[in-house]
Symmetry: C2
Subunit: 211 residues, 2 copies
């Protein structure tokens, strides 16, 4: 068949809940392969290397970067983040739909490289709620917190470049919406056209978009 997989990118400001909704989405087994990003920042409490991020030191990161191993890389809040190119491309080429979780800057960089990527922005219900969530996490210094809040407000303005915005009132609801977006996108004509395949005699369950 050679049908290429789709690329979904979940993004949003720090504290909007993109990590939690992404994890809840994956638990529902939506048929997505999650590709872990690489970072030089230290693991937060509860974060598992290889599950949340691949944690590396700056030297290793710079080496990978120099070898062109990243689809995109960027500095965010003083730490380096990168998306490994090889696993994403191999999975998509084999027809597997892929999921990335990126900060807003990283999501937009991926969109520039891969214009068919589907960008979902997870937004906080309000600025006050965002502040409360970042405070509650308690992993940031006061300076970092101020910086993250400022940045979050600027990032909210980038939503116009995204395909979808999901306001994260509660996790169950946001997860349902994410699932719906994945199913809907698998039936979008711009990605595939099963009716054409049916006409061309490739009908039957092979031509069925997974849902």
């Amino acid at each position: 068949m050679g049908k290429r997989g789709l690329l979904f990118v979940i993004s949003g400001p720090s504290g909007a809940g993109k990590g939690t909704t992404r994890e809840a989405l994956m638990r529902g087994d939506p048929g997505l392969a999650f590709c872990v990003s690489v970072t030089t920042r230290r693991p937060r409490a509860g974060e598992i290397p290889g599950v949340n991020y691949t944690f590396v030191d700056v030297a290793d990161f710079r080496k990978s970067e120099a070898q062109g191993e990243f689809l995109e890389s960027a500095q965010v809040y003083g730490n380096l983040y990168g998306t490994p190119r090889a696993p994403v491309e191999h999975l998509m080429e084999s027809g597997q739909d892929v999921l990335l979780e990126k900060d807003v800057q990283g999501a937009l960089a991926i969109q520039r490289r891969m214009p068919h990527a589907i960008l979902v922005f997870i937004a906080p219900p309000s600025v006050d709620e965002l502040k409360a969530r970042i405070l509650k996490r308690g992993t940031e210094s006061a300076e970092d917190l101020e910086c993250r809040l400022d940045c979050a407000l600027r990032e909210m303005d980038e939503t116009r470049h995204f395909d979808y915005v999901v306001v994260n009132y509660d996790i169950d609801r946001s997860t349902q919406v994410l699932e719906a977006i994945v199913i809907a996108e698998r039936h979008r004509v711009r990605h595939s056209n099963p009716a054409q395949e049916c006409l061309e005699g490739k009908s039957g369950h092979d031509a069925l978009p997974a849902s």
Copy 2:
């Protein structure tokens, strides 16, 4: 708020199952108002005036047409079909999402008039299956049947103008996909941007896209 409702158009060749999937979608109460089309064709067994179609005679149809009461109108298999303009526009202006069920020609005419309409093509799993379904319905003469099959094949080629294609293997699955498309589209940035509303102080549940 003045937020305009979305317009969904379910279409597809005769016998693909657009009527059945549309009815199943509505039973799930997806928050859509279904606007009934007007036709000069005779009701099929089981069709209810005002529920499936508004059935009128040719003189009344032509009168409405002359008065500009239709969003689009067309002749299909020798019968006239039209979409009443007023209810669709009033509902959308009041923020209500609207659903239409149209033949392929009608769906494309609506897209030309309302480029933001979301067009969903319900496709049969295969040409043989389409033939079997039209035969099973048994409401068509042999001549009509031949004509509908020919036309269906040509219509399958129009899917490139649609936003989504759903291959109708079974009704439950197709209905789930339709529901997902409705939820996803309510979160598309091109239709609305709740993150912007949040920034502008319109945050809270008023800014929440219905899902």
